[in-house]
Symmetry: C3
Subunit: 312 residues, 3 copies
């Protein structure tokens, strides 16, 4: 079964999830993104692949970082960009989401980037969009964050060779993390079998294939990649995890712990980091950290997705 | 008497109201807008008519839809656009409105698009603007919304031939509607004589020429155009109209009622719609609805107004 | 000692303060700004000096006026501009300021414009920025507002010849004013020795060289330049200054007072003005006022700073 992100010819038309992405499509996106990747300090070149098109960025959840990344991606491809920050006015004057789509489509918008806290919103928009219109999910509830998954595997690929032989440890609140879900899906497509989840028992996932650990040290042993997740302070208030200090002691990544992983293991974090909680500054800014590369790859991946979806 | 929207040579210099617009000017705007209109799905072409000019969009009332329409119009003409969303900070640090105009003019802004809940604001700005600066009203209290009136008659014109023979029914809270006022003015200029207003007695207008009905069915009989207005929930809270269900029963447009109008009558709505209140989804999405065309025409009309005002 | 705004070759790399700016650098900036200055009514030409670069505007304090000025400056030089209005969400999801810098740098941003209410923020960003990245302060606590100081002396220079012979009176809350501090620094570099401060005793500065007056009339005698500051209503609530009426009587500029200054003295105000409090409308809009010229010069000065910092 293919999901609604493919068109009648089986071509990727929207990007809603990585779950059912064929390996070929994923590889093509990564190749394309690698071409768009720019080193920090180098000028970011402009392209005209999207000249004449209008991209609408609809964020129903606040996120300066991801919104800016999509905005830059679209503008660097030459698109006209309209950003609608709907985080604090969840509707356009009480209009339904689908009517907002109809309205913006009628203004000749070609591509919608949407982030929403409710499950199903990107899918609903894809179902109601005009045939030539594309939808990209920029985060769907706790379910999916496909461009984050892509930037994660692009970053790993820049440092590690064979995805089939990788051991990847993901640490933190995996149960509520769309970042983890999309990363696991991307890794699975690329053949990674050794995926370990570490965190407090209540935050380990029910629905993901991988080995579960409440002891972080065991999960790190021999890992090639250590992916730290941001801990939400709300979880502490809800009593799901211990206080910051205790959390940090049990699930924070520091120099001693990182030595349990393979030499040359890379450290990832989707940002924004709680320094001193899930990760120490020593590690975040250290030689094994690829955290800033992830951010740069984020723009490249989003450019690649837009370019692929909109190419004729 | 000509209003202050004309310059000494009688040329349209600002767009504040349709009330005293000569038929020639109105027709020229519609012709121009028709050239800018783009089908949904087609690429929206870019022009360079406004290249080198700066457009300031000053919205003192929130409106994602209209603001986006003006922004796209200006950008598609090549202008630099600065959007100042002043809805939640009604002043620029306590500065008077006219001082804000002076300040922005001093930064070489050439055209101001202004929406404000108080009557007289666009006129005041026009009086204080530098000679080469243009003001466009994007909504003035309950008084005027000239680009909405233009897009309404542009949409009618794409479907109906002779404005002089049209019967137009406008339904809802006409008394408080700048949309209705501007539409009626545009229709009057084009020679439409048969205009009917339907709604609860307290929401019928005192100051507009047309036949008034509290029975919606009678207003619809033989109508060529049915223009539904958005009902404001605030009016219900104020006790001016009955609850949603009762309002819908008496003044909602559904399939049965639409049959009272002429076959081929078109259905309009300025948006955003309260589906199930003033209009059913069957009608909103049905074959007689031109609601999405109105949105697309909105961008075209705003491009036409900007291009006309700023052409030498 | 040179501050951290110069690079190893002694070249201006950031603009954080005017305090230690060499006279040559200041003059070069003014010359450049004069080339960018445009008369009101004239079209603002576009340049491509910053084409291919991305400018991030980070405002942690609200300011429509200054933010718009920087935005226009960057866009008129051809830069891609990302504006992050952080006034009401002082952090990017709890991320530290320096991590936000790292994140945005990783997206290939080249220049940051920052306004912040805490002292030291521009300096901190400059210390952590990548070598090719530039920081411009757009206002730092009560300490510094260097582009305002530049636009002030640029405006004076358009009207007065010899800075060494000027008498400049600054009136209002000088103690808490970054505008006054930067103006005084710029004037000192240009050789102005006769600087007078007038205001209630508690609002006179401790740390600036100049003659202090609690009697405004005495400060105005023979002045070439009268620089009025905006009075903050918060100071009244705090009891630091008398009520508006009394303040206006003692420290407001009106026609009678202005006659104490030299004939041909110019009147300045950084805006936004409290008309009728620190300045009467007669003076604000009168022939000696250069207040709107200051605004236009603001854009020109910001273009000059960006162009100078980013030129190879």
């Amino acid at each position: 079964m293919t999901s609604s992100q493919f068109n009648a010819k089986g071509r990727l038309h929207h990007l809603l999830t990585l779950a059912d992405l064929p390996r070929d499509s994923l590889m093509a996106l990564l190749e394309r993104a690698a071409q768009f990747a720019v080193k920090p300090g180098a000028a970011a070149p402009r392209f005209d692949l999207l000249t004449g098109t209008t991209v609408a960025i609809l964020f129903f959840e606040p996120s300066t970082r991801t919104r800016t990344s999509f905005e830059l991606a679209a503008r660097r491809l030459g698109a006209e960009v309209i950003t609608l920050d709907l985080a604090f006015s969840s509707t356009m004057k009480g209009e339904s989401l689908v009517d907002s789509l109809y309205t913006l489509q009628a203004m000749n918008m070609d591509l919608f980037v949407v982030r929403h806290g409710e499950p199903g919103v990107p899918e609903t928009l894809a179902q109601h969009a005009l045939p030539h219109v594309h939808i990209i999910s920029a985060g769907e509830a706790h379910i999916s964050h496909p461009t984050q998954g892509l930037l994660d595997v692009l970053t790993i690929r820049q440092h590690k060779r064979d995805f089939e032989k990788l051991a990847v440890a993901i640490v933190g609140d995996i149960r509520h993390s769309r970042v983890a879900r999309s990363a696991v899906q991307a890794l699975a497509i690329l053949g990674t079998r050794d995926i370990r989840f570490a965190g407090p028992a209540e935050l380990l996932p029910d629905d993901l294939a991988g080995e579960k650990f409440t002891n972080m040290d065991k999960a790190l042993e021999g890992a090639d990649v250590v992916m730290m997740l941001r801990i939400q302070k709300e979880r502490m208030q809800a009593g799901l995890i211990p206080d910051e200090r205790e959390y940090s002691r049990r699930y924070g990544l520091d120099g001693a712990r990182l030595k349990l992983a393979k030499p040359g293991a890379i450290v990832m974090h989707p940002g924004p980091m709680n320094r001193g909680v899930e990760i120490t500054s020593e590690i975040a800014d250290g030689p094994q950290s690829v955290i800033r590369e992830q951010v740069g790859n984020g723009v490249a991946v989003r450019m690649a997705v837009m370019a692929m979806l909109m190419s004729k």
